[in-house]
Symmetry: C2
Subunit: 207 residues, 2 copies
DNA sequence: CGCAGTTTTGTCATTATTGTCGAAACAGAT
DNA sequence: ATCTGTTTCGACAATAATGACAAAACTGCG
């Protein structure tokens, strides 16, 4: 849909667009920057801009894939026999992120996107998160996805419940008054534990 | 974002646009129908069209809110002391829907939207579903949302897990070979039961 | 190097979407 | 019916986004 990025050239173009956009966005705000300006700054045509990014706002999510990839790898690196909740805990607490950059981008998003779009993105993140967990779980059963349907159901539902715990905790945190990171960690921990407790009896007791 | 719909007049306009769009879409396909045509058919200006619908594609989701509202009401109508899983089962199996219309719209969506957009919509549905369940659960604890944070966390996570079960079942069903409605019902039943079993011990054992 | 095939861009044209501002239609009170 | 404040609509202009096709850059190979 919007990602040539195969060759070195296209990668350069992409980078140029990314940089140009960030500069403009920071200097004059997202809405006051036209796609044409960005393209011009990067020295390419408008059409080319849209070949690299689905939309102007898409630039605000340009770094997301890298983070997802990191998480997926972190999960995959965990030993096969570790209980899934433990793997997830380890991965999410080890997640490295550039506070500066994240804050900056978050501000731009808040400025240019309406709340529903941001919520939509969070749902996307949760969905990808669940998929990563499912991928890790599936490794235990049938690496190729050819598992019996009951097993597939268990993997999918379990993974989604884990995601439900983490993102549910985040939701409660955002709506609550206490906004410290410690509080968030506490909520995550608590939510994951509740899932874990439920897992001893449920259909997915094996994970 | 795009919904005057307060007065009778705007409701008429909205309906006119909806009808006009459906006719065109069915006759010549979504992509071959321009927003201008729809507006013209409905006898309003292009700008007015965009006052009622956020986008041309938005028309393909125009009926969604009604369904959500139905579900929310169905859940609310259930007795307070019924276990949540039971309420959800009852509600989803009683859901009334016009096979004709649903099939028709689904075809149009498949034609005009790319898969990622459809997935995005499904996520939206799941999210709203979870929220409806959470609403029903919250009634048991603190009607005003002023419950202690632990309780809020339990409600949120539980609701999301229920949604995870239902939509996880749907995902497995869609990816599987058996596509009968019976199979879907079976998967939903199974997924909900697994959650139910887990609930006897987890933090949300009370629901 | 020079050629044939593939990928990436550019250009042009068309449609989609949004901001702004003023006119028309509407609801309620006099 | 007339006045008045509000909602909805139309007209116009500026961006945003996409389709179609040709030119330019890049690739591997003889």
């Amino acid at each position: 849909m919007a990602k040539p990025a195969q060759t070195a050239r296209s990668e350069r173009t992409r980078e140029a667009l990314r940089r140009a956009a960030l500069v403009r966005f920071l200097a004059q705000g997202v809405e006051n920057t036209s796609a044409e300006q960005i393209a011009a700054d990067a020295g390419v045509s408008l059409r080319t801009f849209y070949r690299h990014f689905a939309s102007k706002h898409d630039l605000l999510f340009a770094d997301y894939d890298a983070g997802l990839h990191w998480f997926r790898s972190a999960l995959a690196a965990r030993p096969d026999d570790e209980p899934i909740i433990g793997s997830v805990r380890a991965a999410i607490f080890a997640f490295p992120y550039d506070v500066e950059a994240v804050t900056q981008i978050a501000a731009l998003r808040a400025e240019a996107l309406d709340p529903s779009q941001i919520v939509q993105h969070i749902r996307q993140v949760e969905s990808d998160f669940a998929e990563a967990v499912a991928e890790r779980l599936a490794r235990l059963t049938a690496p190729d996805g050819g598992a019996p349907i009951g097993e597939r159901l268990a993997v999918t539902v379990t993974a989604r419940c884990v995601a439900a715990a983490v993102f549910g905790a985040m939701e409660v945190w955002m709506l609550g008054e206490e906004r410290s990171l410690a509080e968030l960690a506490q909520l995550c921990h608590s939510a994951l534990s509740s899932i874990e407790a439920g897992m001893v009896d449920g259909m997915f007791r094996h994970y």
